[in-house]
């Protein structure tokens, strides 16, 4: 602990010294949202520095339409829906996946393959949720299903790509952003060059890990670079992240998916921001297998998850937060997900 203090104090002193008025940055990773809240970093940083949580929680940005599709599949008699635990309690029109006995929680997508092999009479559907760190894992599982000749395994692909959402935010005039903390494990897969596009908007970004010293040191780098007008991507997570990333993972993603337009909760459709299973693997695509007619699903009245995800509002500015919307009784996904902005605030931020 003393070691952490010794490292963090000089960083905080530097930040206090050089941060200009109204300095605002955004993180776009649910685990950063949680780490910043958990370590109480906001209280250590200058008041004139604003940290905004962006759309970095994949559960929170899953569209209501996608959640409803998953619920409809779970209601079918012969299905098993395999999902990460975070998705279970996301409310959608008064119900959630949790209430359906066909839904099973998995830690690894590979478990869904084992389920398909052990339950040949069932149709196993993996909910493919997550950003660039997780989509390669689903790709591995699809390739393995092909290798094993499975005909009862499917993926409802809801994977998304973070750069397009970041571009939308950078182009928006609503928030006066100065930079980004860039997601460490996404970058481990994609390489830090993946985020080079931010320099065309005169933004700084620092690839960051998840420990408090590393996060504070990244913030120090962010402010320093901004003040010196040094734009572009800086890598502060070198043990794990390099320029090029994991080429095996990237190759698998190119093999299995193609980009598609995707619906982000509270934001709407973002062009080329999602992944779709390619035709060559279409027999594993749940949207081909289950022909479920979808109409638009409205988000709950007064729920400000959308504004919160875009960084336009804090959880405390939502009328439901802490009153009708709590972790034990969530109204929107930002409160349900362990990485959701509202959940992080509720758990760690003092009123």
């Amino acid at each position: 602990m003393l070691d952490v203090k010794n490292k963090i104090i000089p960083l905080l002193q530097n930040i206090e010294k050089i941060t200009p008025d109204d300095f605002t940055f955004m993180e776009v990773c649910g685990t950063h949202t949680m780490s910043i809240a958990r370590y109480g970093l906001r209280s250590l940083l200058p008041k004139r520095m604003r940290i905004i949580s962006g759309p970095g929680c994949p559960v929170c940005v899953s569209s209501s339409k996608d959640i409803r599709t998953a619920i409809q599949i779970a209601k079918l008699p012969n299905t098993i829906v395999a999902t990460f635990g975070d998705m279970l309690r996301v409310p959608c029109e008064g119900e959630s996946l949790q209430e359906h006995k066909n839904v099973k929680v998995i830690y690894s997508p590979m478990e869904s393959l084992v389920m398909a092999e052990k339950n040949r009479d069932k149709e196993v559907v993996l909910l493919g949720v997550g950003f660039e760190t997780t989509s390669p894992l689903t790709a591995v599982v699809i390739k393995e299903a092909e290798k094993r000749g499975l005909n009862n395994f499917f993926v409802l692909c809801m994977h998304k790509l973070i750069p397009q959402a970041m571009e939308l935010i950078m182009q928006s005039k609503n928030i006066n952003l100065n930079g980004f903390l860039l997601p460490g494990h996404v970058s481990a897969i994609t390489g830090s060059r993946y985020f080079d596009f931010i320099s065309k908007f005169d933004f700084c970004g620092v690839v960051t890990g998840f420990e408090p010293v590393n996060i504070v040191s990244s913030i120090s780098m962010l402010v320093t670079n901004h003040v010196n007008s040094k734009y572009g991507v800086f890598n502060n997570y070198e043990p794990v992240v390099n320029d090029a990333g994991n080429l095996t993972a990237q190759g698998l993603v190119k093999d299995v998916y193609e980009p598609c337009d995707s619906d982000w909760r509270g934001i709407g459709k973002i062009k080329a921001s999602g992944l779709k299973i390619k035709r060559a693997y279409s027999r594993f695509d749940a949207t081909n297998k289950f022909n479920i007619k979808m109409e638009k699903v409205d988000d709950p009245k007064g729920c400000r998850c959308g504004d919160i995800l875009k960084g336009n509002a804090l959880p405390t500015e939502c009328m439901h937060y802490g009153r009708s919307c709590t972790p034990s009784n969530p109204i929107g996904p930002c409160m349900v997900s362990t990485e959701g902005t509202c959940a992080a605030f509720y758990k760690y931020v003092e009123d």
């Binding site: 590979m110 997550g130 760190t133 894992l137 591995v140 420990e211 043990p239 095996t248 993972a249 990485e339």
Partner: protein, 69 residues
Amino acid sequence: MCLAIPLKVLNVLNDNILLVESGGININVSCALISDVKKGDYVLVHAGFAIQKMTESEAKETLSVISGE
């Protein structure tokens, strides 16, 4: 969901499965996304997959923070 953690490789079982030690418990993890992994290496594990190799000192630094030392 997304927090990947560094774990030590105890054994490589076959082409695609490693056995890693996680706080005293041994778990199987896929190494489909990395190559040339040996017993004693450290790997970053995300949702049951090794996504990157790390050195022992890098892994230990992360782990000491996670365990709250």
